[in-house]
Symmetry: C2
Subunit: 116 residues, 2 copies
Amino acid sequence: MRLIKNLKFDEKGLIPAIVQDAGTGEVLMLGYMNEEALRRALSSGEVWFYSRSRQELWHKGETSGNRIIVRELWQDCDSDTILVRGKATGPVCHTGNKTCFFQPLTKEDLEAGQGE
Amino acid sequence: MRLIKNLKFDEKGLIPAIVQDAGTGEVLMLGYMNEEALRRALSSGEVWFYSRSRQELWHKGETSGNRIIVRELWQDCDSDTILVRGKATGPVCHTGNKTCFFQPLTKEDLEAGQGE
């Protein structure tokens, strides 16, 4: 079976997938899909990942109920990254935040790090 | 020297960095930073990556002239992904497209792939 559209999965069989809110444009999270997760996302219209920590397929929201409905999927120019544009049914982050990117990283962090 | 804000670099010393247009919200590309690239991005205010193919530090735009000016940097909840919100001085993609994500991935691609 041919890999979907010649997508490049890494040596662990994974490809990073950026999830963006299709309405607001906010970047919500980065997950990893294996080929089966991508097939399920394409066929079901909901986001599936491969959990690297649990080493299993992960239907996003299966526990929290906060699923992500796929609006559009895109692959990048060299076919090694996926962009999901979708709508989440609740907060995407396990912390309860809408997005996983809620912690700023500044020059001060750099300076603090170098002194130690 | 402490890792910047306890960021988690992978076994190759890299961390994925999503680049988003700070004005339009468009997702432009995914690159990889090592610690030095991140330090340079934080201190210079321009995006630096680590090129996995060339295995060297890569000042984005050093060849094309299309640099990315950092507006904000964010780390995700589990500190293994970075989000750069910035402004590119020209097309980010080596193909000349504004974004690297210009190829849609649809259910039809899945069906076409399975028949082969």
